[in-house]
Amino acid sequence: MRAVVTVIGKDAVGILAKVSTKCAEHNANVVEVTQSVMQELFAMIMLVDITSLSGDFASLSDDLTALGDSMGLKIHTMHEDIFNCMHHI
């Protein structure tokens, strides 16, 4: 099982480090990362393996959202199925 973590907001130092640290705390393994900075807007998309999470999905999602709020970023954590179903036949 994998989830997609999306981070959107103003670019700053250490975003990737903090988000991946939080993932590690929950035992979510980062599988793939793509990121881009467009006109100071930072957009990062991480694919993380959530098969052996230390807690439940909701606490990972809530923690990441809270981390985003503290850094002025929008962080969404969503199961990859929603993207697969919507964009692939």
């Binding site: 793509t34 881009s36 909701a58 969503m78 993207f83 919507m86």
Partner: protein, 451 residues
Amino acid sequence: MINTYDVLETIRMIQEECLDIRTITMGISLLDCIDADISKACEKVYNKITEKAAHLVEVGEQIEKEFGIPIINKRISVTPIAMISAACHCSPVPFAKAMDRAAKAVGVNLIGGYSALVQNGFSAGDKELIESIPEALASTERVCSSVNVGSTKAGINLDACRLMGRIVRECAEKTVDNACFGAAKLVVFCNSVEDNPFMAGAYHGVGMPDCMINVGVSGPGVVRAALTKYPDADITQISDVIKKISYKITRVGQLVGVTASQRLGVPFGIVDLSLAPTPAVGDSVAHILEEIGLESCGTHGTTAALALLNDAVKKGGVMACSRIGGLSGAFIPVSEDAGMIDAAKAGTLSIEKLEAMTAVCSVGLDMIVIPGDTSADTIAAIIADEAAIGMVNTKTTAVRVIPAIGKDVGDELDWGGLFGSGPVMPVRKESPSKFISRGGQIPAPLHSLKN
């Protein structure tokens, strides 16, 4: 492999364009709760609903969190209560109270099925149930009621139309302190469907399994946002854009439905491919029609634009899910749609135009506030007109009008939340009483020589 564009598109649809799952509705059969002793029957009803739906809300919230998509409503529909209460030979109001208690116990916001199907006539229990609707809706909070008065195969039961005209008024009169809200929880149908997940008209048909999950999707805001990118496209291209976006919306409905059914251990029924508006900014069906090119919803061209929208939504959605059903189409509830409210206030949108629109889209005259002095016979005639459109066109139509007791054109009723607010819309003053009081059955229509 992550496609950045796809991921950001999905997030934008949810965050900015109000994409949501409108409802997960659990249908529960109450046929095994029948008992001649009404208190025993009500106890069985309460127990069955609370047992089957014990985890409905919890699972719904879990799925919301995992997929990051709001599921606005978790609801329950049950077997039409007239079938259950017939054996009791007394007022079925205690059933409504048992349903209300069960709905509160499991945490769903509405429960539908305080219903009777009388398109061919009244059987035992039907009249008692219909007569009890005003009291049932006034004395409960979450119970919704519906009555089917006609069908393409049966014709229209004019006696039932007449009766319902009076009942709709009584529902409003009994809840006058609550902005006549009783009438907003009552729908009168022609060709009602057994698997509709949307309120207030949901009930669990007798041909259904013991328990099943149906899902209603939404997303008018997403459709409108997609259309803004094509300001100069011709109407064929507009139809294609709507189909594509409708496919995506429906895929999410299918995913949520399948996941919910697996976790609840209940068979998955259908996805209802509906564009259901809310009063929220950016979640309006009227605004889609305006995006297509109408200065205001309700003007000439509205019926054609709506027909295209309704058809494209279905074409896009059909391939996206395993089974479709329910009411599937674009809803046009006036009080629940910011654009419809504005058009009705400005006088561009009239009841007559809405009636024409219902011939080409999902359901019917929905959430329309009418003057408080509208007679029961006039309401009955509005019901009969709408039922005739459904009967002849082999589609579901419905009437949910709210007589604003003590108010007139220029006033409005405000319920807040998803039900919104609506201006009082004028109705014709000339009497249809003689027609309505004739009673009897309008025979089923011919299905050849179609002109």
